[in-house]
Amino acid sequence: MTSTSVAIVGVAECDLGVTNKSVLELQTQAVTRALADSGLSLADVDGIATNNVARFSTTTMADYLGIRPSWVDSSFLGGSAFETYVARAVQAIESGQASVVVVSYASNQRSAKSRSLGGVHEEHLPEAQFETPYGPLYPLSYYAMAAQAYFDRYGATREQLAEVAVAARDWALLNPKAFRYESGPLTVDDVVSSTMISTPLAAGDCCLVTDGGGAIVLTSSARARDLANKPVRVLGYGESTGHSAMASRSDILDTGAANSAQAALARAGLSTSDIDVIQVYDSFTITALLSLEALGFCGPGEAADFAAEGRLRPGGSLPFNTSGGGLSYCHPGQFGILLLVEAVRQLRGECGARQVANAEVAVAHGTGGILSHHSTVLLGVDR
């Protein structure tokens, strides 16, 4: 195993669910809580990465926090941006451009009712001419077409997809912060009989729409040793960027996710079997299955059978989205930051009823846009 020389030393969520708070208040909650968790302060921060605050997200955040960072990143990549920020932050810290980086995100989309099924219209893009006329839901209909292609190619079924949502709910019932903590268990039949949105994906296959967010604090592993928390080392990272239009990829299931996952594993000198805890983006049930295959837990087309055997549920052989995931815990529009928060907490052993025993290596694998961008981070207990 190899490793970077950077560690995550603080993590936090902002308020989740329905908050009626502004994005800047939620962002600042996340940042200050994560710094408090780390034992560092705003005065120590010389790097920030975030998006979705404003057109000039990082300058707005620097202004609101009253700091002058020497390094920032506000790449807009969809929900996988935060795994990529970790990679960029590692590079910034290792090169000396920054010493303490905070990666953060927050959204008030549920309170503000700002989410539209049709997506955001950008008049100057090819999609406005060649896709919008046909009325695809964005991003939902693309994932639906990917699921249909997966069914056609491998014979998978809606019941098998539903098992992803059932497993996520079982985990959420162990997480007091989960939006569905008190909603009771979900059955495959509940998911399959839920309101159809864009075939074959029904409401039960789709992530929550909630407020929420979080933050993580990164610094050198040398500095991390002097701080209170058990440091969590960044072991490796990888990413892949592809299409933005719905007809550009010749094979809709050739997403690029495997390139990201395999690059991260190679950089860390790890194999899939070394991973103890998995946090994958579950915008939709199909996203999670495709991610499991990309990470090498099973071959192409095998994830449906793999999930259906209960492996992903609490007590199963593959601890998966232990927070309850985007499906049952929280999905604030971009979920990638919360994959990292949960991965770190598992490695620190702080997860109570949902704690995975002896967790030493975790993966956070983000998916952005319409299977457009993929970013993978491997984390490990620092020794």
């Binding site: 406005a128 006329p133 009325g135 077409m145 249909q148 056609d152 864009s198 075939t199």
Partner: protein, 146 residues
């Protein structure tokens, strides 16, 4: 599932923009001709139209050829929640793999959504827009026409 056939995938309420590069493509739709961009240097065919050839990277050899209008459904989704108020659900959004190679996003119309299948042969149809242009859409090829 009861469907008023000609309404499936209706998009009359949305007039797509065009630009300098795509104007010939949109003008051809007035004559119900579906154009594809073709590279004279490497023979690649692509959709949507771009300033660069994805096959060889050249910018000076792209022209237009007319599609045969034949293709197969690569994959599809039946949409039950309308993306816009002018769309009547359910409607079929599909990726159509054209005989010339490129994939085009479109609607499959005049079909019961339950009857749509990936791999089905489809042929080009047109939905006229209020400004004289038209949208290429597709119908499942009937057996007697095949």
């Amino acid at each position: 599932m009861s469907v008023s056939l000609k309404q499936v995938g209706a998009g009359e309420g949305y007039l797509p923009p065009s630009d300098d590069l795509t104007l010939p493509w949109w003008d051809a739709t007035r004559e119900h001709r579906l154009l594809l961009q073709t590279c004279a240097a490497c023979r690649s065919v692509q959709h949507y139209p771009r300033y660069v050839c994805l096959g060889c990277g050249s910018t000076g050899h792209l022209g237009w050829e007319e599609s045969s209008g034949r293709g197969v459904i690569d994959t599809f989704t039946v949409v039950h929640r309308a993306a816009r108020p002018d769309l009547e659900v359910p409607y079929v959004v599909a990726r159509i793999r054209l005989a010339e190679g490129p994939v085009i996003l479109s609607n499959v119309i005049d079909v019961r959504p339950d009857d749509v299948e990936s791999g089905a042969l489809v042929v080009l149809e047109w939905r006229d827009l209020s400004d004289g242009r038209a949208l290429p859409v597709f119908v499942v090829e009937s057996e007697d026409a095949a």
